[in-house]
């Protein structure tokens, strides 16, 4: 009996389920381990910034770091803050997951609307669903997810043929995304111009370009964050396995690069895609971007490559199936590592309890390892050291390693540090060593007083300031 379900619907359902599995596994695994669903340096930082964006505006001095730093936020932070006003913080995780599934559906639909083959669109969406960047952006509250979602759905509606209302909705969504950062604005501009020149002219193209001009004119000073990165940090931002935040798995990067080689010069319609890739790489290199657009572009290009891989005639079946297996394992391995990393991310259950206790204690600046900064700010609501400041970083090195109070007390006093948080992970990862450095000095009960010690997590008060 023939199935009555449309094959396209089946594809969509499969993509959505895969995305849901990839994203839901993180909070469910964390809950089963007793860890809070709100987690991660980036996730907790975004949550705090979202709240601040609603009350402090787009540019202000952040008093929660020592020394203080100027923060520049945008509309995406406001959106997150707004959601947090409406929903409890822990609900945001599941809302973000739903948005992730929505992104997958929009991406797949957009590829179909761009007249790409159904098989290619399906494969590309699957690659996106198992990308580490996708898990990172949609398993925790991340404002960077909103422009991606708006661009995908905006483009989806904008390219619709003969549907003016959809086109207008698309313009509105793209117009909103433009205010979320200069890189997004430029990406939208490249897409709109490229689509109009190489694929199909749209009546609404001038409207979009007009909005871009307005957005650039009024918003430029808020959106320009020129911050070039060294080469290794660029690699860290792009490829997940190299240890940074990385949007893409190494397998996806390789497939995407090969996809570019294979498709180069074959179709004019792909020209906007190449331009977007080039700009996205520039965004990472020059604007310290997270490579968000790469998260959409490389799965698309990988889809070309994988499609060719599956349809190619191979000389030896064993080589064919081995290659399929290796490529699949590369992609899945990255997903597994991304999920595992998220499940293990700060804070775990014990650390969360310690941070809640820390919130109830008096005192000001709290000293700990850099990876706990966001958690201390967001959960314990205490200021922390700004580790990106070279002097503060040097001070932290002294505090961690010095074995004499004569060297340790001055930086503690300089940055007004009154509390110290030590976790078991900090000892395991070598920030501190038992019996050496700071752990040695903490035994001095005239200078330090232990306030909390549960499950290997300690909170110390600094008693004496020189």
């Amino acid at each position: 009996m023939q199935s009555k379900v449309n094959p396209l619907t089946k594809n969509l359902a499969f993509i959505a389920l895969l995305g849901l599995f990839a994203l839901l596994s993180v909070p469910l695994a964390r809950l089963s381990l007793g860890s809070p669903v709100l987690f991660g340096e980036d996730g907790l930082s975004e949550l705090r910034l979202g709240r601040l964006a609603l009350t402090r505006g787009f540019a202000f001095e952040d008093a929660m770091t020592v020394p203080s730093t100027t923060l520049r936020l945008d509309l995406s932070n406001c959106l997150l803050g707004l959601l947090n006003r409406i929903f409890p913080a822990s609900w945001l995780v599941f809302i973000q997951i739903a948005l992730g599934v929505l992104l997958l559906a929009g991406f797949w639909g957009l590829m179909l609307r761009l007249d790409l083959q159904k098989k290619l669109s399906f494969i590309s969406a699957l690659v996106l669903a198992i990308s580490p960047g996708f898990v990172r952006l949609f398993s925790r509250p991340m404002s960077q997810a909103f422009p991606l979602l708006l661009i995908v759905w905006g483009a989806y509606f904008w390219v619709a043929k003969g549907k003016l209302i959809q086109n207008i909705i698309g313009v509105a969504l793209l117009g909103l995304a433009m205010w979320m950062g200069l890189p997004w604005l430029i990406s939208i501009m490249l897409f709109v111009i490229g689509y109009s020149i190489f694929i199909r002219r749209r009546i609404t193209t001038p409207i979009v370009l007009g909005l871009i001009a307005v957005g650039a004119f009024f918003g430029m000073r808020y959106m320009l964050h020129f911050a070039p990165l060294p080469l290794v940090e660029i690699a860290n931002r792009i490829a997940f396995e190299l240890g940074g935040v990385g949007a893409l798995s190494l397998g996806c990067v390789i497939l995407g690069i090969i996809g570019i080689f294979l498709t180069w010069g074959k179709s004019r319609g792909l020209a906007p895609g190449y331009a977007l890739v080039g700009f996205a790489l520039l965004d990472v290199a020059l604007f310290s971007g997270q490579g968000g657009m790469l998260l959409l572009l490389f799965p698309g290009l990988s889809g070309f490559m994988l499609d060719k891989l599956f349809s190619k005639t191979w000389a030896m079946p064993v080589v064919k199936y081995s290659t399929y297996t290796f490529a699949f394992m590369l992609l899945i391995l990255s997903l597994g590592i991304a999920i595992a990393k998220s499940v293990d991310d700060v804070p775990n259950g014990s650390e969360y309890s310690a941070l809640l206790t820390l919130r109830e204690l008096g005192g000001g600046v709290t000293f700990s390892a850099p990876r706990y900064s966001s958690a201390v700010q967001a959960i314990a609501e205490k200021p922390v050291l700004l580790f990106s400041d070279p002097k503060a970083a040097n001070a932290s090195r002294i505090i961690f390693t010095s074995q004499t109070l004569r060297r340790t007390l001055p930086p503690l006093s300089k940055y007004n540090i009154s509390l110290i948080l030590i976790t078991r992970r900090m000892i395991e990862q070598g920030n501190v060593e038992n019996g050496k450095g700071l752990m040695f000095l903490l035994r001095n009960n005239e200078t330090f007083k232990k306030l909390y010690d549960v499950n290997g997590i300690q909170v110390w008060e600094v008693l004496r300031q020189p």
């Binding site: 290794v232 390789i254 000389a315 030896m316 080589v319 590369l330 590592i337 050496k436 040695f440």
Partner: protein, 491 residues
């Protein structure tokens, strides 16, 4: 004719093998400390079936990231006899490089004697002789497999049967060394060069590239993902010793001494002819890609200078066949007598190449017997969880012979602070004040200090200035090599 060719190839292999075996057999110790690390891994595999991944002795204890194929191979071969595994097999691998170079060169020319000369050059490249003699390191095997892969790929591109051979060599390379990643990059650069020349890439070659790319990435990801994820690429590079980045780069003197002047001149000439001759475009493009990749890695200091010179030397040895071919044609035109030409060539080129190679073998230093004896003696005294301080080049000797922890060794991946440790080791030897030295010893849990004439020359000291305090330091081993026990701490 075929018998003559076979005999000549056999003689070539025998010459290279014999030269290597002579140095391997007559040396009383290995010339680099990495060999002792290989022996430790072999011992671990034979004892437990697994390599030592949690190394309690290196850097005071750390997790080791590695591709263990080579260590398993050596462990397996050691069951055939240690002399076979640690003396004969390394010499055989080096001889096989000459064969690989001959095979690649024979894709450039139909004149097998010329290809044989190219193989001969490759077997006696000075840098490779230095790198591959009296050592158990995996570099010679990596180099040999590299050029076998190049040979099979060239054959595949020329539509000759080679797919299975290529698969076998490339899988072996992937299982042995992360330098297989370099070959991945090289084949894709090659594809780019081929496309630029508007030549079509062969279907089987493309399949191989895809298979090899995914296999190599997957294996290396599995081996190194943990350290990459913990420290990131920046962290991995931060662990890379600054001293390597500051090491002198490639200059003409090093190039000539590492490659040999004749091979350099003939090789460069031959490379020019290879690029300009239509028939050899694919092979020339592959060798060019290989050279680009190696030089780039060397410029980034991601592989050592010896390795760069070895690879370049072999490439130039291969391309020299084109120059030799042109010289032969020119000599025929001038009606020079064949016998005169051969005699001149042997006198001017063949013998000096051999001599320089052999000279490198003789002049390559080995770890001194006195050091190994001293550290072996220390093994009977040390209780196990203390460290012995010495420069990083002694690190593996300390862990192998003395079986104590070291402060640093050449296995710096996964170590967070290699640069700092190197500085601290130097300070420990050179600092005038006892308190400062003891603070350093406390930091690394050092119980023993190794001192020999080479360490004194390295740090430009005549002795350790604070060592006279008998309350804190005791000379427990006193030969040309000295070992001192640290009896004090600051805590």
């Amino acid at each position: 004719m075929k018998l003559g060719k076979g005999l000549a190839i056999g003689l070539l292999l025998l010459a290279v093998f014999g030269a290597r075996l002579y140095f391997n057999a007559t040396a009383k110790s290995y010339s680099d400390s990495e060999s002792y690390y290989v022996l430790r891994q072999v011992d671990s595999i034979k004892a437990t079936g697994l390599p030592a991944i949690q190394d309690q002795l290196s850097f005071g204890g750390k997790q080791v990231s590695m591709i263990p194929g080579y260590y398993y191979l050596m462990a397996g071969l050691s069951y055939l006899g240690e002399w076979f595994a640690f003396k004969i097999f390394p010499a055989l691998i080096s001889a096989l490089l000459a064969l690989a170079a001959y095979l690649v060169a024979s894709e450039f020319t139909k004149e097998w004697p010329l290809a044989l000369i190219a193989g001969y050059f490759a077997g006696f490249v000075p840098a490779f002789f230095r790198m591959g003699t009296n050592t158990l390191g995996k570099s010679p095997m990596t180099l040999t497999l590299f050029f076998f892969c190049a040979f099979f790929l060239i054959r595949l591109e020329n539509q000759k049967p080679a797919f299975r051979g290529l698969l076998a060599c490339s899988i072996a390379l992937t299982l042995i060394s992360p330098l297989a990643l370099l070959l991945v990059a090289i084949v894709w650069v090659y594809m780019g060069l081929i496309s630029l020349q508007e030549l079509k890439i062969q279907g089987k070659s493309f399949e191989f590239m895809l298979f090899f790319t995914f296999l190599t990435l997957l294996l290396n990801l599995l081996a190194f993902a943990r350290s990459g994820l913990e420290s990131g690429m920046l962290g991995l590079l931060n662990a890379y010793p600054q001293s390597l980045f500051n090491a002198p780069g490639l200059d003409w003197v090093l190039l000539i001494s590492g490659v040999n002047l004749f091979v350099l001149v003939l090789g460069v000439l031959g490379a020019y002819y290879a690029v300009s001759l239509d028939a050899n475009k694919r092979a020339a493009s592959l060798l060019l890609s290989l050279s680009i990749g190696i030089v780039l890695l060397g410029a980034l200091r991601l592989i050592g200078l010896e390795s760069v010179l070895s690879y370049i030397g072999v490439v130039l040895s291969i391309t020299s066949v084109n120059a030799l071919s042109q010289i032969m044609d020119y000599a025929k035109k001038l009606r020079v007598m064949r016998g005169v030409l051969i005699a001149a060539f042997i006198a001017i080129v063949i013998l000096p190449v051999f001599a320089v190679g052999i000279y490198e073998g003789f002049s390559k230093p080995s770890a001194s017997i006195e050091d190994t004896e001293a550290l072996s003696w220390l093994a009977n005294v040390a209780t196990g969880d203390e460290a012995t301080i010495a420069p990083a080049e002694y690190g593996h000797l300390i862990t192998y012979f003395a079986m104590t922890e070291n402060v640093a060794d050449s296995n710096f991946i996964n170590s967070r602070d290699f640069g700092q440790r190197q500085e601290d080791i130097q300070r420990a030897y050179a600092v005038p004040f006892e308190t400062e030295a003891i603070a350093l010893f406390d930091k690394y849990n050092v119980k023993y200090i190794l001192l020999n004439p080479q360490i004194m020359a390295k740090y430009n000291i005549s002795g350790i200035s604070y060592i006279g305090d008998e309350n804190c330091f005791e000379n427990i081993y006193n030969q040309s090599v000295k070992i001192f026990e640290v009896k004090c701490n600051l805590r």
